[in-house]
Each structure stands twice: as structure tokens, then as C-alpha cells.
């Protein structure tokens, strides 16, 4: 005979619930020593080859392994790193970088100008098939080489004239070129290492780097470990070791932080409903990002081929609601260049003005929205996008009497649809590759592949062209002001809605971490906080 199970083997449900409720909040003290710093990367970096990397996870590792010619200072201006100085010649067509001679690769060799020449030409080589090759297309013959129109890399306008001098010839004066040299894809590379190991050159043991940390282990989909570089030319970092985890799920990452198993978290480790609680924690910081969120009109589709209708729709949106419904510290925006970037101008753009919006719509032939055709607002499937779309849909209904149809699609399907069968209004966003207005404004030029509005304005193109060549800051700002007015006030192919903010929490045991407005994480200055 089998024995009868004990009566109390299964605890009763009410008892369990009571137990849950009575348990207090996390009482655990942080674990880990002060020489190791642990962060969540969120995901496996697709590539640590800076000619092939395209995403934040990869760049956040690379940014701690490597340094380049320049980096951003606190005001997002390019400051010297490996380049100790530069000469801008021939009205901006030629730039000569003079390199320091005390920067070492991790195998002891000196970083030379040839390493930059190799890296840039590798980025442009069609066989590398780099997605970011176009970032260097301002260089003489760079685009032609990438297109395969010329075979010889010798003709590309970048050359090491000696070990310490890098000479760059541009197609035309480019005032933002120094900003490009802050971007990881322009960091130097070692030809001998890449040729020796092929696609495996980024694995620990093979990779050769020059930055504050060294790659000591990479367990794919799990963890990357970095160790301080004792020979880093700006001095060894204060922490000995960095552990970068790849935890996709936000609630798990946050639980790890609360257990003291992670020392720093950002948006990819904070679920949206936890944001208000995080804001009260010590070590919390809201970091405004150079990332804009907008709705675009497909300007050759009725009724949005009429600028009055576009203006009416833009003026019927009360942008102050976005931070309230998204809880992410969003900054409402009516103009396109984001805050803390050169030429940002919050006075530009169409403000919330329902009576004026109604008047414009009436003038366009749709009094109180009567006779307005069925139009669609499309977004890619994501909770935040849905929240925004529904709020905006409500405002248009209230203020204009127009009920817009919402449509959502999976990301890749959505991208395809924007090209082949665009909706009347679409959602999109843009994050800066480098903090120059050119990177933002160029999106809407006539030939831009990112311009899904199908709007073209030769004056806008011309202003951007002139601004790109303009070295005088005041004149440059004036040019961008005029271009932004065309974009956000006069022609209105887009409605900027807000710029995003990244929420970060640093364990108060540490200090010195830098998280910048392009979501880049710099750990070189991290050190234990003095008590």
C-alpha cells in the first residue's frame, strides 16, 4: 500500500499570498568588491569589429576598449585624444592631424597614422561591406571606392604622410568632419592582426586595442570581461575589472541591481512602470538624449499634399502630454534639432493652437473635419508608440474633428511598407551618430534615403549644403535656423513630437561614470565613491 500523503504537503493559497504581502522589500546589501564594476549591456554585441558594429551594445564595449583621434568634451565639441592637434587647410578641404607618439597598442606597439589610414580604407572597402561606410563619403574618392567605381585605395583621400601625420582630403569643405572623427567606426586598426585572424580578430587573445580597458573574456550571449589597461596613455583606470552582462529582460536586470549584482542600469534595465520609483533612488540621473521622435506626412498623398492640412495637424497636438503618458522624461519639441546640439532653437516650430488649426483646416476645405478623407497613421508595433499614437489620435479628434485610423506592423514589415506603400502619416525617430546638426537635418534633403515624406525643397537642400561648408558658428546657426523654419513651420513635412531621455542609476558606492547624450557609456573614470 502506498502511504497517504501528509495533510499539510500543499500550503494553502491564502497562506502563500499572506506570506508574499508580509515579506518586506529587498533587504539585501550590495555584493561585489570595489575593484569590479558590473553593468548590463542588455544584449550580445553583434560585433566588436568597429568597422562592422552598428548598435549601442557593441559601441558601448568598443568605447571602453579603444580611443580615436578625438572624443567629445562636456560641451559635445571634439577634443584631442590621439590627435594632439590638427590644421584645417584650403578653406576646409584638407585636414592634417598630428598624432601623439605615446599611445600604445595593447601588444606594446605604438599607434601610428598608418593604423588610421588602414582602418578608414577598410571601412570603405566594398568587400568589408560596412554599413557605416557612408560616414566617410565626404573624403575624396571615398564613395567611388565604396561603389567599386575605382579599384585602387591609393586614390582615396586619406594618407599617412609619416608615422605621426594623417592627411585627409575632402571633396568639399566639411565643417563637421572633426565630429566624425569622434565616432568609433573611425578608430584605428591593426592590419597585421586583422589579416592574421580574419573574422575572429575581435576574440579575446586575438584583439589588439589601445584604450583604457582590455578585452579579457567574451562568453557569447552571457558576459564580457574587461580588465584595466596598465599602459593606457592617460593612466590606468581606478577599477581593475569590468563585467558586462547580457540580460535582455528588464525586470531581471533590475532585480540584479536591487540585489547588488549590477552597479549601473539604464533604460534597457528599467521597466517603464518602475521609472517613477527609480527616480527616487540615490545615484539616479536623467540624461537627455540626442534622439528625436517625429511623425512624418507623406506629402504627395491627399489630403496632406496641402500644407494647410499639415500645419493644422501639427498645431492640434499638445506635446506637453508625452512626458505624462510615457513617464520617461521626454522633452516636448516643435523643432527638429535636439537640445544641447549646435543650432538648437526651441522657438522654431508650430505651437499648440487648436483655434488656428481649425481655421487652417476650414480654409483647406474641411470645416470641423467635414468631408475629410479616411487617413491612416502607422507605427511599428511597440507599446510606447501605441500610447503616443492613441493620444495624438484623440487630440486630432477633439481639436479637428478628424478620426484618424491607426495601423501597426512588425518592424521589418513596417520599414518595407514605408518604401512601397506608405501610410498618410508615419512614426519615426532618429538618434545622432555624431552631435552635429548636419546629422539630423540631412535626413530630409531631396536625395536622402531616410526621407519618407517624399517632400523636396531645393532651398532646404541648398541651406544644408552651405551650412555643411560653413566654419563660422554664427553664420552656420543662421543657416540652420532658416532650414528648420522651412522644415517645421513653413512646409511642415514632419511634426517633431519630443526628444528622449535616458534614465540611469549608478550604485552610490561608485562615482565618475559618464553616460552621454548618445547613450554611450564611458567607464574610464569610474572609481569607488569616497565615504
Amino acid at each position: 500500500m502506498l502511504k497517504q500523503p501528509r495533510k499539510n504537503a500543499i500550503p494553502s493559497i491564502p497562506a502563500l499570498i499572506t506570506f508574499f504581502l508580509l515579506s518586506s522589500c529587498n533587504p539585501f546589501s550590495p555584493t561585489g568588491d570595489l575593484k569590479t564594476f558590473r553593468v548590463n549591456l542588455g544584449t550580445e554585441p553583434p560585433s566588436l569589429d568597429w568597422s562592422l558594429a552598428t548598435d549601442h551594445a557593441s559601441f558601448n564595449v568598443i568605447a571602453n576598449l579603444m580611443v580615436g583621434l578625438t572624443e567629445f568634451d562636456k560641451n559635445l565639441k571634439p577634443a584631442a585624444v590621439i590627435a594632439k592637434s590638427w590644421d584645417i587647410l584650403e578653406g576646409g578641404r584638407r585636414i592634417i592631424f598630428h598624432l601623439r607618439d605615446d599611445v600604445l597598442w595593447s601588444d606594446g606597439k605604438k599607434v601610428q597614422a598608418q593604423d588610421f589610414e588602414y582602418s578608414w580604407k577598410r571601412l570603405l572597402n566594398p568587400k568589408t561591406a560596412s554599413e557605416y561606410a557612408y560616414i566617410l563619403f565626404d573624403i575624396l574618392n571615398a564613395e567611388e571606392y565604396n561603389q567599386g567605381k575605382i579599384d585602387s585605395p591609393e586614390l582615396v583621400g586619406v594618407k599617412a604622410s609619416d608615422d605621426r601625420t594623417l592627411e585627409v582630403h575632402l571633396k568639399h569643405p566639411v565643417s563637421y568632419f572633426l565630429s566624425i572623427t569622434t565616432f568609433e567606426v573611425t578608430y584605428p586598426q591593426r592590419q597585421d592582426v586583422i589579416e592574421k585572424y580574419g573574422s575572429k580578430w575581435t576574440e579575446p587573445g586575438n584583439i589588439v586595442t589601445n584604450g583604457p580597458f582590455l578585452l579579457s573574456s567574451w562568453k557569447h550571449e552571457n558576459e564580457i570581461q574587461l580588465t584595466a589597461n596598465p599602459d593606457f596613455f592617460l593612466g590606468k583606470p581606478a577599477i581593475d575589472k569590468v563585467e558586462m552582462f547580457m540580460i535582455n529582460e528588464k525586470t531581471t536586470a533590475l532585480a540584479m541591481y536591487e540585489q547588488g549584482r549590477i552597479d549601473f542600469i539604464d533604460n534597457q534595465s528599467i521597466p517603464i512602470f518602475e521609472k517613477p520609483r527609480m527616480a527616487k533612488l540615490p545615484g539616479f540621473k536623467a540624461v537627455p538624449q540626442l534622439r528625436g521622435y517625429y511623425y512624418g506626412f507623406v506629402t504627395d498623398r491627399r489630403p496632406f499634399d496641402d500644407v494647410r492640412v499639415r500645419k493644422a495637424f501639427s498645431m492640434a497636438i499638445d506635446r506637453s502630454v508625452f512626458p505624462k503618458i510615457l513617464h520617461g522624461g521626454e522633452r516636448p519639441a516643435t523643432s527638429w534639432i535636439p537640445p544641447s546640439m549646435q543650432a538648437q532653437n526651441p522657438k522654431i516650430g508650430l505651437n499648440y493652437n487648436p483655434p488656428e488649426a481649425r481655421r487652417l483646416l476650414r480654409e483647406a476645405g474641411y470645416p470641423d473635419g467635414k468631408g475629410f478623407p479616411q487617413v491612416t497613421l502607422a507605427y511599428n508595433t511597440l507599446e510606447d508608440h501605441k500610447t503616443v499614437a492613441e493620444a495624438v489620435q484623440g487630440m486630432w479628434k477633439r481639436n479637428l474633428g478628424v478620426l484618424v485610423r491607426l495601423e501597426n506592423q512588425e518592424w521589418k514589415v513596417y520599414l518595407k511598407k514605408l518604401k512601397t506603400d506608405p501610410p498618410h502619416i508615419y512614426r519615426s525617430g532618429w538618434g545622432a551618430d555624431y552631435p552635429d546638426p548636419d546629422n539630423f537635418m540631412k535626413l530630409f534633403t531631396s536625395l536622402s534615403g531616410n526621407n519618407d515624406t517624399r517632400w523636396k525643397n531645393p532651398r532646404y537642400d541648398q541651406l544644408l549644403e552651405s551650412a555643411a561648408r560653413e566654419f563660422d558658428e554664427k553664420r552656420r546657426i543662421r543657416l540652420y535656423n532658416e532650414a528648420q523654419r522651412i522644415l517645421c513651420e513653413i512646409d511642415v513635412p514632419i511634426m517633431p513630437l519630443f526628444t528622449t531621455t535616458e534614465h540611469t542609476v549608478l550604485n552610490p558606492r561608485f562615482t565618475g561614470l559618464e553616460f552621454n547624450s548618445m547613450a554611450r557609456l564611458f567607464l574610464r573614470e569610474v572609481r569607488p565613491a569616497s565615504r
Binding site: F20, P46, K127, K219, N222, R261
Partner: protein
């Protein structure tokens, strides 16, 4: 017997080929490509990428190239993890998923057998009803709820276990329970009902009438004859468990293969989609093959058919 095995083997290979072909066609029919990005790439850059991965060739040629690759054991490059081949990724991640799957399967079997046997034996008693309740709970609680609940209880409140990452033996506990709960419930449900049926059969009554020990009646006569339905599901269940679960691996940050069943599709990483599909199909076919073998041992009548 040899003919039976050979037929099964050929049948399995045909299934794998059909699945590869259908997957190849369907993934290319899905709108959007692997290099469609928010940041649109200039046409010349796209052309270079297409040339690198032979995406500019006709489909048939790509298909032929892929089949030749498989024959050589090469699953091609990943379009997303550009420095790694699909074979590398599968080789690194599959053992993790397999270990978790085996643990979960072990948990499911260890949990379900005693539960089902006691439920069937004391059918309609409170024991049976409690087992049924547990089984229903296990089947209906989705992974993400159960996982979150376990993390909340054992990590955040009690501080006994870590909430995520795959490091040592203790880190396997929560994901094993999360992944194993539903199969445990399902198996116990299945086994209970077939056992209940067996216990009412004439041969059980005869065995009892002969004065056999109750344990012998239960384990030797009744249980043995109730195993067929359980074995039938164990095959595909094992294949599903050891290839990993997207949700469980995602919640507990486990470096397994399960996540790629979803991410490869959303990334349109064609070779990765093919790779995981191939591994899954291969396992499913082999699992079914072994189940067929087991059948013939448990019930000799099957072999003779």
C-alpha cells in the same frame, strides 16, 4: 527490424529536406529584409552587403549554395552577429539549452510520475483533486508569470537564489522549475488518465485476485501498460525542451539557443532562421525515431505491424 529502422530513417531525412525547403521559401517571402534599418543604408552600401552574402544571386542558386553548405556541415554566416557563423552560435548555445532542457525534463518526470500515480491510485479523493489542481495550474501559468513569480519570491524576497544568468548549479534552479512546470503538469495529467483506465482493466482485477502484492499490481501491470501515451509525447517534448525556450532564456538571461527562434525571425537573419529550424527539425525527427524504437520494446505488437 532493420527494414523498419531504415524506412524510419529515410522518412526522417525527407521530412528534414521538406522543412528546409519550405523555410527557405517562406522566410524570403516575408516582407522586409535583414538589412532594412531605421537608418536607411545608401544603395551602394546595400549592394556591397548583398554581394558579400550572395543575396544578389537568384533564389535557386542561393538555395543550392545553402544545401551544399549543409552537406559540408556549414550553416553559413549570421547576418546579425557578423563575426560569427551560424554553426559557431549553435555549437555554443545549444549545449546550454540542452542542459536546461534535460534538467527541466528530469524535473517534469520526477515530479509527474509520483503525482500521477498517487492521483490515479486514490482517484476522486482529495489527493487526486489536489494533483489535478496543481496540474491545471502548471499547464495554465505562462512561463513569464511563473518566472517572474519565482524571481520575486526566491531572489527579491528571500534572497536565496540569483534572479538571472547561467553561472553555477544554483542559477539553474529557477529556470528549470519554470521550464519544467508545464510539461510536469501535462505529463501527470496524461499519465493519470491512462493509469486510471488501466486500473479498471480485467487484467488488473485478475492480478489482484491472484493475490499479487499491491505494488506489483500497480507498477508492473498497470503502469507498464499506461506508458504508451506518455512515451508518445515525451519524444516531441524532449526536442522542444532541449532546443530551448525563448521566454525562459529571456527572463533568466540564459545564453541558450531558444531566443534565436524569435530574434532570428525579427532580425530576418536568414541563415540563423535556417540553422535553428534545422537543429529543431533534426532533433524532433530523431526523438520520434527513438520513441518508435521504445514503442517496439514496450509493446511488441507495434513492431510486428
Amino acid at each position: 527490424m532493420a527494414r523498419f529502422l531504415l524506412t524510419r530513417l529515410l522518412h526522417g531525412l525527407a521530412v528534414i529536406w521538406v522543412v528546409i525547403t519550405l523555410t527557405f521559401v517562406f522566410m524570403r517571402l516575408a516582407p522586409g529584409g535583414p538589412f532594412d534599418r531605421e537608418r536607411r543604408l545608401p544603395p551602394e552600401v546595400l549592394a556591397n552587403i548583398a554581394a558579400k552574402y550572395h543575396l544578389d544571386e537568384p533564389w535557386l542558386k542561393q538555395y543550392g549554395r545553402y544545401l551544399l553548405g549543409i552537406a559540408r556541415g556549414d550553416l553559413g554566416p549570421s547576418y546579425k552577429y557578423v563575426d560569427r557563423g551560424v554553426s559557431d552560435i549553435v555549437t555554443e548555445t545549444f549545449p546550454v539549452s540542452a542542459l536546461l532542457g534535460v534538467l527541466a525534463l528530469g524535473f517534469a518526470v520526477a515530479f509527474s510520475f509520483p503525482l500521477a500515480i498517487s492521483a490515479a491510485y486514490y482517484r476522486n479523493s482529495w489527493t487526486d483533486r489536489s494533483c489535478l489542481f496543481l496540474a491545471t495550474l502548471g499547464v495554465s501559468l505562462p512561463h513569464f508569470i511563473l518566472g517572474a513569480l519565482l524571481i520575486w519570491l526566491f531572489s527579491l524576497q528571500l534572497g536565496w537564489l540569483q534572479p538571472g544568468r547561467w553561472e553555477d548549479l544554483t542559477s539553474t534552479v529557477l529556470p528549470t522549475i519554470t521550464l519544467g512546470a508545464a510539461p510536469a503538469a501535462y505529463l501527470s495529467y496524461l499519465l493519470r488518465s491512462s493509469l486510471v483506465e488501466s486500473l479498471e482493466e480485467d487484467y488488473v482485477r485478475t492480478a489482484r485476485a491472484k493475490g499479487l502484492k499491491e505494488a506489483t499490481v500497480l507498477f508492473k501491470h498497470a503502469l507498464n501498460n499506461s506508458l504508451i501515451p506518455t512515451l508518445t509525447v515525451l519524444g516531441p517534448l524532449s526536442a522542444a525542451l532541449i532546443t530551448g525556450s525563448f521566454v525562459v532564456e529571456y527572463i533568466f538571461a540564459i545564453p541558450g539557443m531558444g531566443r534565436f527562434f524569435i530574434t532570428a525571425v525579427t532580425d530576418r537573419d536568414y541563415p540563423m532562421i535556417m540553422g535553428v529550424t534545422l537543429v529543431y527539425t533534426g532533433l524532433l525527427v530523431s526523438a520520434n525515431f527513438f520513441v518508435d524504437l521504445l514503442y517496439s520494446i514496450v509493446d511488441p505488437r507495434i513492431k510486428s505491424h
